[in-house]
């Protein structure tokens, strides 16, 4: 570990270390290096290497059974296509690099600020950043426009979190605010060498003989955006490729689909088969040579170099390897890539996955996984932002026993008109005008209710222009409540550390803020103590109903019952509830209490506990005001999607960082949990303390947990046994033991929290967990860390051999998105990190249905058909040589013309099968969605597996057998009508080639379910092209130019003008195709699959004309009482009361011209990140460590970390 030394304003000094400059280069090539490097990379691929070895073999004349061009033409074709693709990719990388490198930055050079390009910024430079600018390099914050050298950054590009983070300069540097002072700054930073840890930085600043420790809180990292800060100065510590952002741009390992793996295995098998054939033929050759060939030497000229029959056999082996190499078709890999690319485009183009409000189309970010979308068995979904919109809406309330707010389902009533309030938020909607009436009537309870909402919170207001208020709330719940109060005429306008200014029904009122009794997990409530202008001291409190109800004054008892009823009702609708209460405080009592509070907040030991006791004391005997109900808005169509995916046998597990209550609540509203479920196992109750306790007695705990899991499993199995036993009595059809997992009629759900999960994921227990979880219909894991999400995915991936899909939207989902076979990012509210790490992205959870059931299913279906046909085709094509070997002395004589071998795969047969692979649809998209069971064959790997492969190669072999032996039978005595024989090798070649092309074309025609114009064009076109090329290659003209390259001159003319040849072709075609047709017909008739049935149905529907579709509607039934879920963090109150985050000027210059430039510029980082596909996610473990309390910043409850 070499330390890094950087001195400010000292180029000469810094130059000695040769640090990286700020130019970034993500492009791999330049014009001169492209060819060698790209070719080198390409030849590292096994397939390409294999074909180049073949090429070399072909150059040995003793072996060469085929001209060099038969291999080099396809190889060059493949290489060129890949090279072009790489080159375009790299060009775009280069463009975006250029764009970033040429960005302007203000650098302090020789006493003045000068505009420099980013790439010219050097380590040790002092640069100035303005609001909303991207940070050009990793810089040490020196000073800013804000007090205390604070500045705010958004780190969405780095870790996906869109909330603002505070950075604070060292006190000694924070007053360097003008240029002359900065010029004289000559501090030297000694720090750690470049690394990729986004959340850690250690260094020391040496300045004026003093040492100042530096940490991450003083660094602005490249990729961040400066927010809410007019300007700041910083010193460049790391530049260009040494910045943390760039250090994080590693490569992720390539995800491969199961088909890919299968394909590789099969190619190996084929390769083995190829070698077997080679050996058989080589042995055959040796034998032939020994018994026949030696006698035939009169006419054959080999004795000059062929020493023995064995050596000759050895050479023949290689010759046959060359000839038969087409069983491993070089075009297979290219074609598969092309298909996947096409399928990706279809996903990108799908308007039904386009979200118009956001203008976001679905995007296939990787083009290698499409067919796996058709095989998904497990979906791991994040909750917030994925299932829900992460938008909280104030939807109902109960004030003083009176309920306001309309049922969401009856939205007929008009939206409440808030025009009386000039400060209202226009996006806010409420559906009960009686509440506005009550406000206007100046009902004291209602007023107090909203006053509480306007006062009791930790929201920061920002008034960009007069009346244009923007709230920065730490949780969306709070924002919703304050916004509601705002619209009902209690506008929270401004705050200072000591005051809160409201605009109550148009009247500005300033409250003195005496104390904030902050929220924490144990208290589950927060309170504020304010002094009204009239001098009254009041405590306003809001919190979980159970907690608040305990602390009410007895006088509120009746109200409590009514409110409680209302709360149940709210909960039944899946709303998140809060109870509100207030208390008038006696001036003297408060003074005493305040003193004690001040004292308590200065003690060092047990401060938290002492504070908590004090808080508890004052929050007693409150009067109930009412309750609020916030709707955690589900994304559109979530329950329907989940129901549909369930029907497709896809198991959906929800993994969320949220609380148990919230998670279960959403579970109910998504219809994943239902009241009619037999049992919902909840493994939880392990608050932090519990877990500690259990950890002390680890064995017992384990024992308990495992026995619980076991008993739960027994319970399920036991019940199902009973119920299935009942069935067995009635119908003897089933053997009673085999019904276990399949016949579980009863429905179970498992809810498990992170703490329990941590233990259950131990190797001893994970199997039981998995068994249990797979028996349950619904699994919800809550309070899990990002790492645990990945572990759960890994667990299923490892033990279930199933394709997993993870879907999420936040930085905390990145690990699971990367772990799962397929990662889907929701391009939603939170940052873009999930999207960057994902393989597919779209805006709404409900598109998942279409992605899997339509695109995935089609892709899988197409890919399977494609592969089946491709192998068939190549076996049929190549094995003819094998059969011919027995009749030509195993001499590696090719059956076909060399040009035909060259062009067969890339010209004659490539397009029809590509068209099939791109456009084929067995069932249209509506029916795919309508019959989710159609998805099941993919999960069971039915369409292409080793058996299918075996069958299609068998068919290929049979076809090649017939292709050879029918002409063989017909040919020896065949003569033309003028008596001249044409049983010659060339006529034989043309006849077989023609039969082959026709047979495979007919076969592709039969395999094509969906004949679009393109399919017609390609199939008929390929046939025509075959004949056109055939005649062109065998024309007089070409022969005249290159006699030795086109020795087949005239064969086509002589051969295809014969009736008997056509009779052979017709016979071959029918014989090759007929058995397959019969088998297929009988299979469809005797054992129709669901696909066949739906196809039939679709056909008959089409005749009847389109029918109205009745979409599934999922009724939500839940009477469950939801608990309060406060997605809150502790400690915000301290920041407010300390006043550090209060601005001197609230209106900042937001409309600076940089904004426009910046809105374009966000792309480079995305491009870069996406390309590299690796974005570090700040390690969840390190974040979720022990609660740290840093003076001046905020302490955070670790368990709240994973909330978003």
């Amino acid at each position: 570990m070499k330390e890094r030394r950087v001195k400010a304003n000292a180029w000469d000094y810094n130059d000695r270390f040769s640090y990286a400059d700020n130019r970034i280069k993500t492009s791999k090539y330049n014009i001169f290096t492209f060819l060698p490097i790209n070719l080198f990379e390409q030849f590292q691929r096994v397939a390409n290497a294999y074909f180049s070895v073949l090429l070399i073999l072909q150059l040995i004349p003793e072996i060469s059974s085929l001209s060099w061009f038969t291999t080099i033409v396809p190889l060059v074709f493949v290489l060129v296509i890949t090279a072009v693709k790489d080159a375009t990719d790299d060009y775009f990388r280069y463009k975006s690099d250029q764009q970033v490198n040429n960005r302007q930055s203000q650098v302090l050079i020789r006493g003045s600020l000068q505009n420099e390009k980013w790439m010219n910024v050097r380590v040790g430079d002092i640069i100035k950043l303005e609001n909303n600018q991207f940070v050009a390099a990793d810089i040490l914050l020196l000073c800013s426009s804000e007090p205390y050298g604070l500045c705010y950054v958004e780190t969405a590009e780095l870790d996906g979190e869109t909330n603002l983070k505070v950075r604070q300069a060292l006190t000694v540097t924070s007053d360097l605010g003008d240029i002359s002072k900065l010029m004289d700054f000559d501090g030297e930073v000694i720090c750690e060498p470049p690394n990729n840890k986004l959340d850690r930085f250690t260094g020391t600043l040496y300045w004026k003989g003093n040492k100042y420790p530096l940490d991450n809180e003083k660094m602005l990292l490249r990729g961040c955006v400066l927010r809410n800060t007019e300007w700041c100065f910083g010193m460049v510590i790391f530049a260009g490729s040494q910045t943390k952002l760039m250090q994080n741009c590693g490569r992720t390992k390539l995800k491969r689909t199961s088909i890919d793996k299968l394909m590789n295995t099969l190619v190996l098998w084929i390769f083995a088969f190829l070698i077997c054939m080679g050996v058989v033929l080589a042995i055959g050759h040796t034998i032939w040579e020994t018994y026949v060939g030696t006698n035939f030497r009169v006419f054959l000229p080999w004795d000059t170099f062929q020493i023995s029959a064995v050596f000759s056999g050895f050479l023949t082996f290689w010759s046959y390897i060359i000839i038969l190499n087409t069983v491993v078709p070089i075009s297979l890999y290219v074609s598969v890539e092309v298909l996947r690319l096409g399928h990706s485009y279809f996903i990108n183009w799908d308007r039904k996955m386009y979200h118009s409000p956001m203008g976001t189309a679905a995007e296939a970010r990787t083009t290698t996984l499409n067919e796996e979308l058709g095989q998904v068995e497990f979906i791991f979904s994040d909750k917030t932002g994925t299932l829900t919109q992460n938008i909280m809406v104030f939807s109902k309330c109960s004030i003083n026993g009176q309920m306001y707010g309309m049922d969401r389902l009856k939205k007929k009533t008009a939206c409440v008109d808030f025009s009386f309030n000039p400060l209202c938020d226009r996006r806010f909607k409420f559906f009960d005008s009686s509440l506005v009436e009550a406000i206007k009537m100046e009902d004291p309870a209602v007023q107090e209710f909203f006053r509480l909402l306007a006062l009791c919170h930790t929201v920061m207001p920002e008034e960009k222009s007069e009346g244009n208020l923007v709230y920065q709330a730490q949780s969306p719940d709070e924002g919703a409540l304050v916004t509601a109060a705002r619209n009902f005429g209690f506008v929270f306008r401004a705050r200072t550390p000591e005051t809160v200014t409201l605009c109550e029904m148009g009247r500005t009122v300033t409250y003195q803020l005496l104390a904030i009794l902050d929220f924490n997990n144990v208290r589950k409530r927060m309170s504020v103590i304010v002094r009204s202008p009239e001098g009254q001291i009041k405590l306003y409190s809001k919190g979980a109903d159970t907690i608040i109800f305990e602390r009410l004054d007895p006088s509120s008892e009746n109200l409590m019952y009514t409110t409680s009823e209302h709360l149940s009702e709210f909960a039944g609708e899946g709303l998140r509830t809060l109870a509100l209460a207030y208390k008038d405080l006696d001036e003297d009592y408060f003074k005493v209490w305040m003193k004690r509070l001040l004292f308590a907040s200065t003690v060092i030991e047990n401060r938290e506990d002492q504070l908590a006791v004090l808080y508890d004391e004052i929050e007693l005997g409150m009067k109930l005001l009412g309750a609020t109900a916030i709707e955690d808005k589900l994304q559109e169509g979530v329950p329907e999607t989940i129901a549909c995916l369930n029907l497709a046998d896809i198991k959906i597990w929800v993994l969320t960082g949220d609380k148990l209550e919230t998670a279960m609540n959403i579970g109910y509203s998504c219809n994943m949990l239902r009241d009619d479920m037999n049992e919902v196992f909840v493994i939880s109750g392990h608050s932090l303390q519990d877990v500690r306790l259990e950890e002390n007695s680890g064995v017992i705990h384990f024992h308990c947990l495992s026995s619980f899991l076991r008993s739960a499993k027994e319970h399920i199995l036991g019940l199902s046994r009973v119920s299935s036993a009942g069935h067995v009595e009635k119908t003897d059809a089933f053997a009673d033991d085999s019904v276990f997992e399949e016949a579980i009629i009863a429905e179970y759900a498992l809810v498990i929290n992170g703490h329990s999960l941590a233990h259950v994921l131990e190797p001893q227990l994970e199997h039981i967990l998995l068994d249990l979880a797979c028996l349950c219909k619904t699994v919800i894991c809550c309070r899990v860390t990002p790492m645990q999400k990945a572990q759960v995915v890994e667990l299923v991936k490892r033990h279930k051999r199933a394709v997993t899909l993870a879907i999420g939207d936040g930085a905390n989902d990145v690990s699971m998105i990367k772990t799962a076979h397929i990662g889907v990012g929701i391009s939603g509210q939170e940052g873009m990190q999930a999207v960057l790490a994902s393989d597919y992205s779209f805006a709404q959870f409900r598109y998942l249905q279409r992605l899997l059931l339509v695109h995935g299913r089609w892709s899988y279906f197409r890919m399977c058909n494609f592969l089946g046909y491709f192998f068939y085709k190549n076996f049929a094509f190549t094995l003819v040589h094998f059969w011919y070997g027995f009749f030509c002395g195993f001499s590696a004589q090719t059956v076909y013309d060399q040009w035909f071998i060259t062009l067969f795969n890339i010209v004659y047969t490539s397009l029809p099968v590509l068209a099939m692979g791109l456009f084929d649809q067995d069932v249209n998209d509506q029916n795919s969605l309508r019959y989710p069971s159609l998805y099941k064959p993919g999960q069971q790997n039915l369409l292409f597996n080793k058996r299918q492969f075996f069958l299609c190669t068998l068919q290929g072999m049979a076809t090649s057998f017939l292709l050879f032996f029918i002409p063989y039978g017909a040919f020896p005595l065949m003569v033309k009508e003028d008596g001249s024989p044409f049983s010659d090798q060339q006529a034989f070649a043309v006849t077989i080639a023609t039969s082959l092309v026709i047979v495979v074309s007919v076969q592709i025609g039969l395999d094509t379910h969906y004949w679009t114009a393109v399919n017609h064009l390609f199939i008929w076109g390929s046939l025509m092209v075959y004949f056109a090329i055939l005649f062109a290659m065998q024309s007089d003209g070409l022969f005249g130019i290159f006699p030795s390259s086109f020795p087949f001159i005239g064969t086509a003319r002589n051969c295809l003008s014969e009736k008997s040849v056509w009779l052979v072709v017709l016979l071959t075609t029918v014989v090759c195709v007929m058995p397959g047709l019969v088998v297929r017909f009988l299979r469809v008739d005797l054992f129709p699959t669901l696909t066949d049935k739906v196809r039939r149905l679709q056909q008959s529907r089409k005749k009847q004309g389109p029918q109205e579709q009745n979409l599934r509607r999922v009724r939500r039934t839940s009477s469950r009482r939801s608990a309060y879920a406060f997605s809150h963090q502790q400690g915000f109150g301290e920041l407010i009361t300390s006043g550090k985050n209060i601005r001197r000027s609230t209106v900042s210059s937001l409309c600076s011209p940089e904004r426009i430039a910046q809105s374009h510029s966000s792309s480079w980082i995305e491009n870069m990140l996406k390309r590299k596909n690796e974005v570090s996610c700040a390690s969840p473990e390190s974040e979720g460590g022990a609660p740290k309390s840093v003076k001046g910043t905020v302490c955070m409850d670790p368990t709240d970390q994973a909330q978003f």
């Binding site: 375009t88 006419f299 308007r351 920061m460 020896p972 003569v975 004949w1011 014989v1071 966000s1162």
Partner: protein
């Protein structure tokens, strides 16, 4: 670490969205980037192609098509099979082996000796007219003209009359490219070298009088071979073109003397040479030797009578267990006698019909339930 959920000002998200959508599968960014001007430009085009709604024909293997189809194909095949078989049966073929294996066979003495131009003759009798036109073939069996190195051993450029390849034949001809004293061989290669060199004359004996049957050797090779693929160099006399070259080792005379009587049948365009150079696909083959000139008595073919074939026996086949034959045959619309095709058609046709019956039974029994 300070956490504030920022209520996004609306101008931040769209800019991200725009650029995010600029990437399509990593390739066609350019195309999409152009479209980033407005939000709605991100909306995918509503075309039948992009939405995968191309109008299409979706055939289903329904019983209504498959079963009648099979019946029709089956019947057609049976028809063709019968026709082929009948035609094939009508073709007359006379095959005579003259290898001379057994002691009794007429050419056995020649087959033992190594004398050049050993003579022997075969006799045969026709009881009825051998319907014309009659073709006279020679047949070889167990002869591997399709052996790869044999087949590659020729020089197409040389045979195309390119003089530069006369002096330096292609290496593919090796070892028949140069003779022992490094003189180039023309035509080079083992195919040419192994040219069939037995000759036949056919005579008919009618009432004691011997009458030679006129044989026509013109046009027995493919038109394209004769006119395009093989060419003599345009040097007169032809002999001069071969200056500095030697004849193939096993040939009795150089190429320019193959038919001195007819310039258009000499050198590389000699019909017998062309027929030989078109190498057979399989080890048992026939090549056309002559056709019986349909003139005079032979207007309608070979009339009944006693015939003698006088053979100049040169070509060694016994070393590799080969056999030599002479064959007389006439042809029909579908070429020569070939029972294989007819039988195959009959068999396949019957199979089709049988299968259609099977399918019909299955279909009737397990009718696909339409409603479900």
């Amino acid at each position: 670490m300070f956490r504030v959920s920022v209520l996004q000002t609306t101008d931040v998200i769209p800019s991200k969205e725009k650029s995010r959508c600029g990437r399509v599968g990593g390739v066609s960014r350019s195309e999409k980037m152009v479209k980033q001007e407005s939000e709605s430009a991100n909306r995918p085009d509503n075309t039948a192609f992009t939405q995968q709604r191309l109008p299409a024909w979706q055939p289903i293997l329904s019983a209504g098509i498959v079963i009648p189809g099979f019946v029709l194909i089956g019947l057609a095949f049976i028809g063709i099979g019968v026709a082929l078989l009948v035609t094939s049966r009508s073709i007359q073929v006379l095959e005579l082996d003259y290898t001379g294996d057994g002691n009794g066979s007429p050419c056995s003495s020649c087959s033992q000796s190594t004398t050049v131009n050993c003579k022997c003759s075969l006799n045969f009798t026709l009881d009825t007219l051998f319907q014309g036109p009659v073709f006279f073939y020679y047949g070889l069996s167990n002869y591997f003209q399709n052996y790869r190195r044999y087949g590659a051993s020729k020089d197409d450029n040389q045979l195309y009359g390119d003089l530069s390849y006369f002096t330096s034949p292609s290496s593919s001809c090796s070892p028949y490219d140069y003779d022992g004293s490094k003189n180039p061989i023309v035509p080079c290669g083992s195919i040419a070298n192994s040219m069939f060199n037995d000759t036949f004359t056919l005579t008919r004996t009618v009432s004691g009088k011997t009458d030679s049957v006129p044989l026509d050797g013109k046009g027995i090779a493919w038109w394209t071979d004769y006119n395009v693929k093989y060419r003599n160099p345009s040097v007169t006399p032809l002999k001069n073109a071969f200056n500095g070259t030697v004849k193939p080792i096993d040939w009795a005379k150089p190429a320019y003397e193959l038919d001195t009587s007819d310039a258009s049948n000499n050198g590389f365009v000699n019909q017998d040479f062309l027929v030989w150079m078109r190498r057979a696909a399989l080890p048992n083959f026939r090549k056309l030797y002559r056709r019986i000139d349909a003139s005079g008595d032979y207007q309608n073919g070979l009339p009944a009578g006693n015939y003698t074939i006088d053979i100049t026996y040169n070509y060694p086949v016994r070393v590799f267990n080969g056999a030599k034959k002479v064959v007389f045959s006439n042809v029909s619309w579908m070429g020569g006698k070939n029972e294989f095709l007819g039988i195959a058609y009959l068999v396949i046709g019957s199979l089709c019909v049988v299968m259609s019956v099977v399918m019909l039974i299955v279909y009737a029994k397990f009718k696909f339930p339409d409603e479900e």
